[in-house]
Amino acid sequence: MKLGATASVIAHTMVLSWGLLTISSPRPLSVADVEALPVDIIPIEALTQTIQGDKKAPVAETPAPKPTTKPVVEEKATNVGNSKVDAKSSTSKEIAPRPVEAAAPPKAQPEAKVKPSQVTETQPEESKETVPVPTTELAVDPQEKIKVAAIEPDEQSTTSREAEAVPQEEFAKLPDLVPTPAARPAKAKPKVAKTNERKEAEKPAAKIAKAAPKSKSKKQADEISELLNRQKSTASGAKRSKRQAALGAKKTTGEKLSQNEMDALRGKIQGCFNLTAGMADAEELRATVKVRLSPSGELEGKPMVTASGGNASVRRAFKGAARRAVQKCAPYDKLPKDKYQTWAELVVNFDVSDML
């Protein structure tokens, strides 16, 4: 009995636990997860603004990429400092391919060394100063390189001090790589190992600059750096939507009057436009009235009117009618104040060729 009960209990337990494990959780109804779609109702004008981009915006999408560091480079780096080794090894082939196209041409000119730091390595004979180049191992991604190229000029004079200062810290951190040659004034090497931040990219350039003949005046360099700074700032200058600028369609307009606002304005002026019905030559008559508006919608100054078509007196009358329409309708106080920028100037074209 006891045994039977026990067996029964065990058996039941087993069955139940089996059932519990297998049967208990029925397969979930596989319904695809539908995410709630947030819907914003926005005027078309806002939409066009949001999708507008700025050609000059920094390339925001390209992620700060992991540097395409090659372990191979690391190995080379150990030899970099050693001019003898460098000289012996016909390095150029291995290293040159990595850097970008830019590398090729500069060889001819001594100055060219500055730009593609990589190249210099391949030509140790040219000058001793070029040797520090090792930094090139960075094999920075294209983006980085861009910066180097662009910044170079201002580095020449302004950052030379900085260039000297920084390396010292680096030395402290990574002494092992440094020692090799005696002649080196500053080691770029350590930087390489550490990171490939922009700064570092600049530093080597600076070093080179230091070595390079100081042909350019500081003033000029300042000028250039200023220009560069200014240029950068335009990308996020005033008159932008609040969204971060992004590459996209060419930005041609800022805020615009909505279609409704335009229609209202058109209707208003049309109502003020008093014209003689059945005018001779009405098909050919055109007039354009240009006028500046104050923020309160009043006319600022006299409207400028041009007209064409018809004979002189009809044209003059048409011109008068067009001007009167714009003047009679003033003030334009129903225009949205916050868009004043967009309607500060009003141009009205009159063409009634379809009317008759």
Partner: protein, 449 residues
């Protein structure tokens, strides 16, 4: 981005950077400009009449009454044109004291006047009247035109018409037509025995006088477009003849002496020729006659009735009616003759075509569905528009600016008779012309010299 610049020498980089910066700055400015501008196209207009304020002219001394009357005639002329809406004097805020001063435009804006006319009448030492006026644009706050006239007392109405013409022309761009006269056939007496006299009056119905005594039947008077002369048909002596009458001198002469009936005479634009129909048996053909040499030229030779010829204002073409196609239709032909081109194709028959002095339209009488209609079409026959219709409308004549038509409308019944009406070429503003009795066959004069 700058990667490909890397190979360029430094100097070039500077230049590039500079260029780029400039370019960026300029695009910035361009963007700014492009966005700070709203451009609107207006393709429809309000065809309401233009509101104008014409306060009484200022009369120095004892001329207040005539000054008031002149302003009133100007106002009435402009109002009748249908293109102006004079504002009621009761609404005026500013009282014009000195017409040489600028009006207070704000006061006129309030009552929605788009233009203000101020003027004054002064008696000169030699007894003549000096009338001057200024037309002001209220919204632009500037004078559009200003003139002065010297004339005798009796001519005050003409001065008023001339002023109205000046205002009309300055504001519409078209010549006015107020300083003109109408010749028509005045009809008095019962329907059985009507007395028809050639009559002349100002276009507003004033200064009426009779040109013929009413013993003979007169028909189809037509004004010379260049002189104060009228040609008309008369049955004096029992036979229809074309006469020429000088209005100023009252001198009358027969235009040629033809063996057959002549009818529907009309002047050429230079006034040197008369174009008309001459009957030959059952046919009628179109002839011109030089008024100086009296030489006639035959223009058509169809075996049909060609009649009612009318010159284009440039004198190069004529339009006439002909039944050569079976029904009366309108045809256009070179003024020297040749091949005629049919231009009317609507249902019904067309007659009495008149080329607009503006040159762009031809007015006609159309008979369709038992009704007489007055309409206009382009000179190639397109865009036919009917302006008015009724039991009997006929004989359209153009105002010299080609903007308004006058015609006569006959009412049916024993007591019915013809009356003169004007209508705008857009088909609006139909008005009855004030005449002493019944009137028909109007002819509008050119602007007086």
């Amino acid at each position: 981005m700058f990667g490909h610049y890397a190979s360029i020498c430094r100097a070039n980089i500077f230049a590039l950077v500079r260029l780029l910066t400039i370019a960026v700055l300029w695009t910035g400015i361009a963007l700014q400009q492009a966005s700070a501008l709203v451009e609107i196209d207006i393709t429809k207009a309000n065809v309401e009449p233009l509101s104008i304020a014409i306060p009484a002219f200022v009369g120095a001394g004892g001329e207040a009454e005539i000054a008031r009357k002149i302003a009133a005639v100007v106002e009435a002329d402009l109002k009748r044109s249908g293109l102006f809406a004079p504002i009621d004097h009761g609404a005026f805020i500013e009282k014009i004291g000195n017409p040489d001063n600028m009006p207070r435009f704000a006061d006129w804006k309030v009552i929605n006047a788009q233009a203000v006319v101020v003027g004054r009448v002064v008696r000169e030492a030699d007894g003549r009247l000096r009338t001057e006026f200024r037309l002001w644009d209220v919204f632009a706050a500037e004078q559009l035109t200003g003139q002065q006239f010297f004339t005798t007392n009796e001519n005050w109405r003409r001065v008023a018409h001339i002023i109205a013409d000046a205002i009309y022309e300055r504001l519409t761009g078209e010549k006015g037509y107020f300083d003109t006269r109408i010749v028509f056939v005045s009809e008095t007496g019962g329907k059985a025995k009507r007395r028809k006299r050639l009559t002349i009056m100002d276009q507003d119905g004033e200064n009426l006088r009779f040109l013929t005594n009413g013993n003979d039947l007169v028909l189809t008077p037509r004004f010379s477009p260049s002189r104060q002369e009228v040609t008309y048909m008369s049955f004096a002596g029992g036979e229809p003849r074309v006469y020429l009458l000088n209005i100023e001198t009252g001198q009358r002469e027969i235009v040629g002496n033809f063996p057959n009936m002549t009818f529907a005479p009309r002047f050429s634009p230079d006034g040197q020729q008369v174009i008309m129909s001459l009957q030959h048996g059952g046919n009628a053909n179109i002839y011109t006659m030089d008024l100086r040499t009296r030489k006639t030229t035959r223009l058509t030779s169809a075996s049909a009735i060609d009649t009612s010829p009318s010159y284009a204002p440039d004198g190069t073409k004529i339009v006439f009616e002909s039944d050569r196609g079976g029904r009366q239709q309108l045809y256009v032909m070179a003024a020297s003759g040749g091949k005629a081109k049919r231009i009317s194709f609507g249902t019904g028959s067309y007659s009495t075509p008149v080329w607009s002095p503006r040159g762009d339209l031809i007015a006609f009488t159309k008979r369709s569905g038992g009704k007489f209609l007055i309409g206009v079409m382009k000179t190639d026959g397109s865009r036919e528009r009917i302006l008015t219709e009724g039991f009997h409308n006929e004989g359209p004549t153009w105002a010299p600016n080609g903007r308004t038509l006058m015609f006569f409308r006959e009412t049916p019944g024993a007591n019915g008779g013809p009356n003169l009406y004007t209508i705008d070429l857009t088909g609006y503003n139909e008005l009855k012309v004030k005449t002493p009795g019944f009137a028909s066959d109007p002819a509008w004069s050119p602007l007086l010299e």
